[in-house]
Symmetry: D2
Subunit: 352 residues, 4 copies
Amino acid sequence: MKKKVAIVGSSGYSGEELVGLLLRHPHVDLVAVTSRQNAGQTLAQIFPKFASHPKSKALRFAEPNAELLAKQADVVFLALPHGVAAEYAVPLLQGGCMVIDLSADFRLKSAEIYKEFYAHDHPAPDLLATSVYGLPEIHRDQIKQATLIASPGCYPTSILLPTIPLVKAKLVNPHSIIADSLSGVSGAGRKAEPDYLFVECHESVRPYGVPKHRHLSEIEEQLSLAAGTKITIQFTPHLIPANRGILTTLYLAPTEHFADAAGAARLGEKIAACYRASYGHEPFVRLLEGQALPDTKNVVGTNVIEIGWRLDPRTGRLIVMSAEDNLVKGASGQAVQSMNILCGFAETAGFM
Amino acid sequence: MKKKVAIVGSSGYSGEELVGLLLRHPHVDLVAVTSRQNAGQTLAQIFPKFASHPKSKALRFAEPNAELLAKQADVVFLALPHGVAAEYAVPLLQGGCMVIDLSADFRLKSAEIYKEFYAHDHPAPDLLATSVYGLPEIHRDQIKQATLIASPGCYPTSILLPTIPLVKAKLVNPHSIIADSLSGVSGAGRKAEPDYLFVECHESVRPYGVPKHRHLSEIEEQLSLAAGTKITIQFTPHLIPANRGILTTLYLAPTEHFADAAGAARLGEKIAACYRASYGHEPFVRLLEGQALPDTKNVVGTNVIEIGWRLDPRTGRLIVMSAEDNLVKGASGQAVQSMNILCGFAETAGFM
Amino acid sequence: MKKKVAIVGSSGYSGEELVGLLLRHPHVDLVAVTSRQNAGQTLAQIFPKFASHPKSKALRFAEPNAELLAKQADVVFLALPHGVAAEYAVPLLQGGCMVIDLSADFRLKSAEIYKEFYAHDHPAPDLLATSVYGLPEIHRDQIKQATLIASPGCYPTSILLPTIPLVKAKLVNPHSIIADSLSGVSGAGRKAEPDYLFVECHESVRPYGVPKHRHLSEIEEQLSLAAGTKITIQFTPHLIPANRGILTTLYLAPTEHFADAAGAARLGEKIAACYRASYGHEPFVRLLEGQALPDTKNVVGTNVIEIGWRLDPRTGRLIVMSAEDNLVKGASGQAVQSMNILCGFAETAGFM
Amino acid sequence: MKKKVAIVGSSGYSGEELVGLLLRHPHVDLVAVTSRQNAGQTLAQIFPKFASHPKSKALRFAEPNAELLAKQADVVFLALPHGVAAEYAVPLLQGGCMVIDLSADFRLKSAEIYKEFYAHDHPAPDLLATSVYGLPEIHRDQIKQATLIASPGCYPTSILLPTIPLVKAKLVNPHSIIADSLSGVSGAGRKAEPDYLFVECHESVRPYGVPKHRHLSEIEEQLSLAAGTKITIQFTPHLIPANRGILTTLYLAPTEHFADAAGAARLGEKIAACYRASYGHEPFVRLLEGQALPDTKNVVGTNVIEIGWRLDPRTGRLIVMSAEDNLVKGASGQAVQSMNILCGFAETAGFM
């Protein structure tokens, strides 16, 4: 028996990616997609690249209607701007659906921090206590029991997966973290703004949102949880002329001092062991070995995050680098991974 | 009276850029270009984009011959791989030429550090004492007197210009510097290697040379000179799918503590004053104001470096960002700027 | 029971794409991959993007050995340069394998035309009589019976599928065909040549191989077969700064005259009917409707070819446009489609 | 004495390019720039890449005011959408200015054809008789005498310069012309529309405006003038993932029959002689020789158009290919070239 799934707000890049993943998924049946701007049109008309899928000509975008969706679907994905998702989450949960939200609305435990970073009151603060942060490699057990999953942001995934094991194992000082991230332009969404025009992005590399990007709120809350103490980090996002992919370079201070190759080798064994213990059996984490360093082209189109690292005996620092597809492991793929856990499917179902 | 100039090794990207700059320069006459692989061919044949310049069909690449060049030219630019430049510099200097070297051969004062980073003995260690590091905004007076100028590397320029004034003014801890740099692919040179094929770079973002890139040697030597103490820094280069441009993000620890907006404002005034005093009248340094952040597309094709910065009261750090064209301010433009100083031309001659 | 498949020559872009398609295919077991340059290494080492597939760490590249392969595999794909494939095809066929060749070696019926276009004698002319041109939409019945399939080139696929139905139906004059094609850089293969460096291709658009590209030989042979008369066409390929995709624009002279909207409408119905009859049920041909025109981004990563067309009453011409992924429908996807037919699998098995 | 020049509507890509060209021009003084949306801001604020020019911080965008401009400037450039330019041209001409219009408003002699292609009545039909089509290589003598110059479109320039000499010399049948053009995305202007977002253009190649693009009107009028008979052509524009550049491939039927290499050689001499006679001394036309074919990367940033050609003895056709920078020779550079002629400057003044 296939699960019935629906997507609310499926006209952006994450929504489109989600449509593709769910159309191909062997254990679910995509029964509804909603979009105000595309209402009445078929999937094939709006997303020509899915036009060869049998369902694309039959399934039409509908006006979003939470009550109707609650009757149609077992699991509903929300791919909406922050501040809007709550309005659907409440009635869908009441209607008995499992909800997987790709927005920022339920990622924080604190409504105050939400207000600080998103500049408006949280629309459904009561739900913050029950929502689960949908990073499967960290919160798999909670995801299994959840009814409301807040799927993580793209930058947070690229930063949290490489750092949480090190922080938990106290191998690095959690107060020292610097994250320098490079994102393809799809991360900005399908917004018709001059900044994201082809000519403005091609042959351009630029930082933005310095020094206080919204994603800091969820990164710091999750890191604080892992460290058992309040963590503040440095984070600089950059826009890169690629469609997809996030490459994050992390600068970390190991708790163990080293100043030569021998010291680096000793500490390196502990780091390698920590990562192996945390992710050695994870299907979507690829720990790089030998000379390999992460490269977005090796993960684009997949739900995999690559992690590589180097110790620098000249400075005593640990450099950790990760690469992921911002629309897959950084958004829709991770949401489907959570759905697989929630529904009891194989965690890799629907990913080839 | 125009100065006669020549270029040795003009088949790479820096050499090509240099040809263009010198063809357009109002006060020089390009009298010779050499290239083993292109010997006998005209500039127009090898560089079609200069084919409309009157000189391009007359000037042919010659086999490099230092004695002949010494008779032909007043100033000779060397655009050769490291380890090879010295072989030309010695006879050219003896022949009475002024030499501007774009390779790494004469950038360091220490032949030992050269050997550590370049893995071979320095080919002409005696010249290290007399060569001048050609960063005009820092060493203009020495450049005026020089006969051998070692023009800086692309990454070093993007890191040194933003940091040296702060280090000299003791506004930042010089031992704290982290430089995260993103470079367009022309920085790798015109090398027919698989890593730099279009398909391998397009839709790819990747770090490389972690943690000990060769450019660290000159960066650290120049910073140590500015700080009056030995400095080691953290540096991570990344390859970005653009032809040109380097964007560097620097993470610095101010010597003055601040933890709120008021403290940031006070320190910010000192930083702004420091940069204004250092670069306020520099024709090729653009200090960004207001909301503006550096963007490579604003400097590509120019000899300008953009510098912007932000203080982060949450972390107490200073983030400085710079953007330059790696082939112009990061290589050939800077070499021409040094030539202008050396020859007593207006420093902006030949640009714009 | 899964079929056992092998790939000879799997280090190029088509070979890599084929590895991915066969790893994901539900009815085959990839038992061997060969590559002289990568012998001894695992799939995971050479193609990091497949490193998360369970088989990628077990399967190692072997030196190519036709006798051994004939024992290991039921179906062998050859992804080799032209002139080399024959050397493997002969022993593999003798050993009882089915062979699917992605090179140009067995696409022509005439060894003379092969020599004219490829500048060397055909290495196994006897096989030309039995090989089948693997364009499933045109030669499906022959493919079912074949032992040696010559999978078509990328440009030919983009030209033949849109034109053959019109030529067969005598709706266009087959002697009038002009094909203007635009290809992403992966079409040039993974060759470390200066022309295909990132910097030489990015911000560059250029024709090449004008006026006699090798692919003309197979295009004209197939069109001649369809027309029942010897056809010569005009074909201009261009290199475009994209990784993947071919967009072909065809200029055709309809046999029926029209000079106004009414005439265009009448003829348009015949053209639409012709395409519907030919491709209306084809899973990998998408006939565009309404205002839609082909766009490579809608087919990249899929085995689909998009076809759109317009009649121009001002000139009396028919413009047909197609878009495909040069590495999938233009190479490896089509080869797998042929394998599906040959082995009696669902034709869409392993896609989507 | 420098000429005083102004630009009306300088916020688009052509306007920006024009600002750069006029700031660098040795014989003109840019006295005014207008833009409704940018009024009050400096050039440096809107176009950071010009921020190092001394004038960029002094010159502010003004609201457009034709009467005021007529007092300020000798020459006024209009970089406005079609339909709007006329409203400024009339008072500026009355005020004694020379006007160079980059829009389509004054390119046609026929107000009817204007209405057919632009879907509104011509706003100032009386001026059509006096305006001069600003293609210097064809209409240089008329440009010298003009007061109103209609600078050609980007596609028309890339098609007309290669074809007019052949049509005038009756070397090709003017009724046979097919023009297949590929344009970088800046040709679409700085429009915040989804079709021109980075993600929608990168890794996309697509035709558009098939079969009746607006530029056909001026192309056909100019070709008809050259041929002495009414000409209709086939024209297909395509959007290519590059910032700049147009590559046009033309398919032409020579009037002289040839079917072998000897015939091609004979005809080839006539074609070469025709092009040499027409363009051998033109500073901005580069006739390619030997194996060279046009490549947009060789002309981007210059006012040069490259022209190459091949005769195909297999089909009897002539293939002519051209490359230009759509914003320079295809727009603002050509307008400045016309200004140079009009003002009696060296025609190459301001270009390198």
